[in-house]
Symmetry: C2
């Protein structure tokens, strides 16, 4: 099947968690909003959000926001939902129900963390520029680095240390989409908060090792070196503002 991924074309954002799964799976997909010409670009994405998109005469279920994935007759929105759909189809999720629910639970916890990461630079409103909420951002980021990063990363580090089947995977013995997402979280935090991450590196050895091992997987390495990987930048979720990166 040829998947169609819809996400904003200039940032990694939430779309990146889906891209990493598609790339590791070796799946065929179009990154539609990044294509130019007819049927591509942001207008193609907006048609879904506006409720104008149709296939075979049928109106599609309108997602609230990107990313969303067209997979045959289905349009699937919400990052974690897309991943729980793709995972079992591409060997990136465990087979039994309990383990699948556990994988999804971890992915939703990563999603919660991601909101908090985003809100370090936008604590008041996504409609305002960073410069318009800078003072609040400094306060929120300080609390985030002091309390929230240790809570989330500490949790995931403990999962790695207590996984009886692998120290390189958050669950089970094999790579899942959750590991790919955790790679992205670590990569993003290293970009946004290099000083804070460097200072706490010893506390998160297993997470950093997971990051390194995912990065070296052949398909992921090829993807990261390709133009398909959008570089981190200060329009995305992970942004590097030195003033928010306290040296703790």
């Amino acid at each position: 099947m040829m998947y169609e991924l819809y996400y904003w074309p200039t940032v990694q954002g939430r779309g990146e968690f889906v891209r990493l799964a598609l790339e590791e799976a070796g799946a065929r997909y179009r990154d539609v909003a990044r294509e130019s010409g007819r049927g591509g670009g942001v207008p193609a994405l907006m048609r879904y959000l506006d409720g104008r998109a149709r296939r075979s005469g049928r109106r599609e279920r309108p997602p609230f926001a990107p990313p969303f994935l067209q997979a045959g007759r289905l349009v699937i929105g919400q990052t974690a939902n897309i991943l729980q759909f793709l995972g079992p189809r591409h060997g990136l999720a465990p087979k039994d129900e309990g383990a699948r629910l556990w994988a999804h639970q971890l992915q939703l916890t990563i999603a919660d963390f991601l909101v908090e990461i985003h809100d370090t630079h936008h604590p008041i409103s996504g409609n305002l520029y960073f410069e318009e909420q800078r003072k609040e951002a400094r306060r929120r980021a300080a609390d985030f680095l002091q309390h929230r990063v240790p809570k989330y990363l500490g949790y995931f580090e403990r999962l790695l240390s207590s996984n009886p089947r692998s120290a390189r995977h958050l669950l089970g013995a094999q790579l899942t989409y959750v590991d790919l997402s955790m790679f992205q979280i670590v990569a993003g935090l290293n970009y946004a908060f290099p000083r804070a991450m460097s200072k706490s590196a010893r506390k998160y050895r297993r997470l950093l090792a997971l990051h390194a091992s995912v990065q070296e997987r052949p398909r992921i390495a090829a993807y990261l070196a390709s133009p398909r990987r959008i570089p981190f930048n200060n329009q995305g979720i992970f942004r590097h503002y030195p003033e928010l990166d306290a040296a703790r």
Copy 2:
């Protein structure tokens, strides 16, 4: 099966979305942290978070945070994940895969909205009192009422108006857990922002009708009238601070 729900005992919070589904299903469950005596109370909950909980000699998968549900051998965390587990087992979710993914997608969108609702009174940190972030809260709440409420509620109102099978249900022809959650969102917004909600009532007629029809369902009405329903209060997600409830 006797379910065990674990959630903080003095607030509705995220646990309420699970309670509403269990109540409408007529399921047997213990609300463990609200019980006194051996095996109940907050200590019983903390054992899971600390990774000390065991069943049949096996260590349980530790959730990051409540709510979580013990269902036989499974411990399931993350509200939306619990609901996607319970839904098909109790006639509160559609049967086919596409519709189930759609229901879960809407539930995750509700979860996103809920974070934004919470952050109106805690834009800087959950570790600080409201009074310590009051100025920021006023700014965030104003943006929330002006931009975010219309975006989210407008989206769900449109779903109701375009659902060909029912104007009282967000998807399909029958009640799902998504409708129960939307009832809770409307109830909570009415509690937290009575002036703003009253002013915009005409824009959300279908959502208010959904709220009224859920409220009148016999099992939900009995639940709401019982001591099992914790009243809204200013320790929960939905809090009523008149200064945040601008008259728009």
